[in-house]
């Protein structure tokens, strides 16, 4: 075959032990004469399967689950952040290129105290942010709550701690940045396609009424101001239970 598919090239790259990422082919090609075509060429995401924590320790995971459950509490509107799988989502994301800022520009010099309009200027990647933030939070709660960890506090104290982090009143290093990091990742996990480990049973999509990936809403346009009644669909189809098999 003159033009191997990128997937085949990726397989080759993986075989020699380089970190290959789905959908990120980088092999130079010369293309001429016809549109390139190979059977079954496709770049699906990696399905997150339940199972042991990959990044978090059990203790870290318990804290992240507890935080997720205060940011998005379980109530009559649907699952909380913990049961939605937000911590599983974050655990798997931190193991990938996102966790290490692999795709970002990470060359020095760094000016971490630059004004906010310059965006990220810290060398600290998300995985490191979690590891250090969770350790600092554990030290803080142990000291302030007689040896207990965040997930061992009652809901009121948990909310007080989160508010303290958010406002910068609790003086742990980069506490505010840690709070913002966790909050944005919990929201991602609650609303991302369930294929990534969160949004269990599409609870996030049901909360707002997002039908997912149905891909054809011409009937909605033709029927203005009507409630949409079909249940949501994910990249895996209707049920996320398939992921457990």
């Amino acid at each position: 075959m003159e033009n191997p598919t990128r997937r085949q090239l990726l397989a080759t790259t993986a075989a020699i032990g380089t970190a290959a990422l789905a959908g990120t082919p980088t092999q130079a090609r010369v293309i001429s004469g016809a549109l390139p075509w190979s059977p079954n060429e496709s770049y699906p995401p990696t399905l997150v399967r339940p199972g042991p924590w990959q990044f978090f320790t059990a203790e870290e995971a318990a804290v992240v689950e507890a935080i997720a459950d205060r940011l998005i509490p379980a109530d009559e509107l649907g699952a909380g952040g913990k049961d939605a799988g937000c911590a599983v989502f974050i655990d798997r994301q931190l193991m990938g290129p996102y966790g290490s800022n692999e795709w970002l520009y990470m060359e020095p010099p760094f000016v971490p105290d630059a004004a906010a309009n310059f965006g990220i200027q810290s060398p600290v990647a998300p995985a490191r942010r979690y590891r250090d933030g969770l350790a600092a939070l554990a030290a803080h709660t142990r000291q302030a709550f007689s040896g207990r960890l965040f997930h061992q506090l009652d809901a009121e104290d948990q909310d007080r701690v989160l508010t303290g982090l958010e406002k910068g009143d609790i003086k742990i290093p980069d506490g505010k940045a840690f709070f913002n990091q966790v909050q944005s990742n919990v929201v991602e996990g609650y609303f991302a396609d369930p294929i990534y480990g969160g949004n269990k049973d599409m609870c996030g999509w049901k909360l707002v009424g997002f039908p997912g990936v149905r891909y054809d809403y011409r009937d909605v346009i033709d029927n203005p101001n009507k409630p949409y009644t079909l249940p949501p669909v994910s990249l895996m189809g209707r049920s996320t239970k398939a992921a457990a098999r």
Binding site: T26, E41, A116, N117, V208, D216, Y217, N225, K226
Partner: protein, 589 residues
């Protein structure tokens, strides 16, 4: 060691909209053409399959298909006396990477600029006097009129199959269209998209206010269409995955859907992917390009000799390549001299959000990148600027491009940022919120420019491009004016609560605003104030032509792609009808 390839007639840098159109038309004319693209090949069935394309996390949040800052980024500072810092994660704008370029992940809003936009300097002085122009402005007339460019707008729209309603057809005002637009020689190729519930409220409210709303021109097609290159497209299904995604449905006009299937039939064309051009090579006297040097994914360096070099990358990277190659004199803000990097501009964004409360089902997920109703009553010089004290204007739009919930989960003002109250607000507000937004012009100024950064480098050790940019008082005044107009309209639509979106000052690299980065290698009639002549030909190296929004003298109150496409066909016409015969500068001084 650099390997040398056989000479080509034409080397094209970047295979996006303009690169692919140039390649097709010049291959058709019989020339040997190579396009060198630094990203991967991408196509609908393999890369934007319906089973993988609608994935908000992967494409919109993690930004898998965009240029990765690790590969190349820019540095930014607001003012000359600041030290620029690298944009470590793209936010404010998202430069493309790979075949299709920005034309692969855009929304599809395909505007023509207004006739006054092309002579904004002369027109403003005639109507308001020279003192009305903002301080330190570099506002320039375009080197051609709207009327001269009109046939090329028409050609580009026909290749894309743009859906819309003509408002001014050969001087006759048409019902339902934009009565304030420049005169069109023909209808849009396909009828306008159907509008949603929110647009029907906007259209009624705006009409009652004496304004002139219309369905905005869309490259998400309203019906099946076969373009002049023989490529067939399908009707849009309002799936809500346009911008930042590839279209799985063959409904969004892109190089993939409109050009590449025709282009790849020419055996005198080849594309090299994952190969980055590092330099346009010049003859010893610097007056002629001899080809390009590129580096492939194995870091092997190649020389590709060529008679004509077409720089067709994204705007920033056109400018950077010219600076790195020594094509044209770099702009110096201290002296005000030099042209490459001059007149960088962007876009003003401001608007209002309306919270309508129970009983409204806007169904925001039923969206499309170009679905929306717009009005031009406050754009360009369609209104008397005298009492307001600013130059420029904005298109004002009510649109639903999508309802993807990681990014879109609006809450009313005063809602806590997390917890049970936040969750309830997200639940109640998602379906009953709509917004009216203004997309405004940005003028060019002496201190808004691009040059090479003194500190930060790319992986090949070459300096990054440095942007020096902030919003000037003229743009801030305009944004406030547009925010007020937007608020009035959304209130008239029936919103119970209105919150406003003000222009972010100082300019910030986060969050996302728009990828309408213009200028830096502008077209003009005077080589002292433009890098390119009126045909997009380098004044200094006449076998180099440059396409894209980098050639805009300043930005207008619209998305740029319609004008980028029109300028591409305009340049192409000059290459085919004049340059190939003479191989000389097309404008003699």
């Amino acid at each position: 060691m650099t390997r040398r390839l056989p000479k080509k007639d034409v080397a094209i840098i970047g295979l996006g909209w303009t690169g692919s159109i140039m390649a097709l038309e010049l291959a058709k004319a019989g020339l040997d053409v190579v396009a060198i693209e630094r990203g991967p090949w991408r196509d609908t069935a393999s890369d934007f399959s319906i089973t993988t394309a609608p994935d908000e996390l992967r494409y919109a949040i993690r930004k898998e298909m965009f240029l990765r800052p690790k590969q190349e980024t820019l540095t930014m500072r607001n003012k000359l006396d600041q030290t620029a810092l690298p944009i470590r994660q793209f936010g404010s704008f998202l430069p493309p990477n790979g075949v299709g370029g920005g034309g692969m992940h855009w929304n599809g809003q395909t505007w023509r600029f207004l006739p006054d936009d092309f002579r904004i300097r002369s027109h403003t002085i005639e109507r308001y006097g020279a003192a009305f122009l903002p301080e330190n402005n570099f506002i320039q007339d375009w080197p051609m009129s709207y009327a001269e460019l009109e046939p090329f707008y028409d050609r580009f729209e026909k290749v894309l199959g743009v859906s819309g309603q003509a408002g001014n057809l050969r001087g006759q005002i048409q019902p339902g269209g934009n009565p304030l637009e420049g005169e069109r020689s023909d209808h849009y190729p396909t009828p306008p998209m159907k509008q949603g519930y929110s647009q029907s409220l906007f259209t009624k409210a705006a009409t009652d206010m004496g304004l002139h709303p219309f369905p905005r021109p869309s490259a998400n097609l309203s019906e099946g269409y076969t373009n002049p290159y023989g490529v067939r497209m399908a009707p849009c299904t309002y799936c809500g995955f346009c911008e930042w995604f590839g279209c799985a449905n063959y409904s969004k006009s892109s190089p993939q859907t409109c050009v590449l299937p025709a282009l790849m039939r020419y055996s005198n064309f080849e594309c090299r992917t994952d190969s980055e051009v590092t330099k346009v090579n010049l003859s010893a006297d610097g007056k002629r390009a001899t080809g390009v040097t590129f580096v492939d994914s194995e870091r092997t360096e190649w020389e590709q000799p060529a008679d004509i070099v077409l720089i067709c990358a994204f705007s920033f990277f056109n400018v950077r390549l010219m600076l790195l190659s020594g094509i044209g004199k770099p702009y110096d803000p201290a002296s005000g001299e030099g042209v490459v990097g001059r007149n960088y501009a962007y876009q003003v964004g401001a608007g209002a959000v309306g919270h309508f409360g129970p009983g409204f089902n806007f169904n925001p997920f039923a969206g499309a990148g170009s679905l929306g109703a717009a009005l031009d009553n406050f754009n360009s010089d369609n209104f008397d600027h005298g009492p307001h004290g600013f130059v420029g204007g904005a298109s004002i739009t009510n649109a639903y491009t999508n309802g993807r919930p990681i990014s879109y989960h609006p809450v009313p003002p005063g809602t806590p940022g997390w917890g049970a109250k936040w969750k309830r607000a997200v639940h109640e507000t998602y379906n009953s919120t709509t917004n009216v937004g203004a997309q405004g012009s940005v003028m060019s100024y002496r201190d808004s420019y691009l040059d090479l950064d003194p500190t930060y480098k790319d992986p090949l050790g070459r300096p990054l491009l440095r942007m020096t940019f902030d919003y000037h008082p003229n743009e801030q005044k305009m944004a406030n004016f547009m925010m007020q107009r937007s608020g009035e309209i959304v209130r008239a639509m029936g919103a119970k609560q209105v919150s406003t979106n003000a222009l972010r000052v100082p300019y910030t690299v986060v969050p996302y605003q728009t990828t309408h980065n213009t200028g830096g290698a502008v077209i003009g009639d005077d080589p002292k104030t433009s890098a390119l002549n009126r045909y997009g030909q380098s004044w200094d190296v006449p076998n180099v032509f440059v396409t894209g929004a980098s050639s805009f003298p300043q930005n207008a109150g619209y998305n740029p792609t319609g004008t980028v496409g029109a300028l591409c066909y305009w340049t192409l016409d000059a290459i085919k009808s004049q340059y190939l015969k003479s191989e000389t500068p097309l404008v003699q001084l």
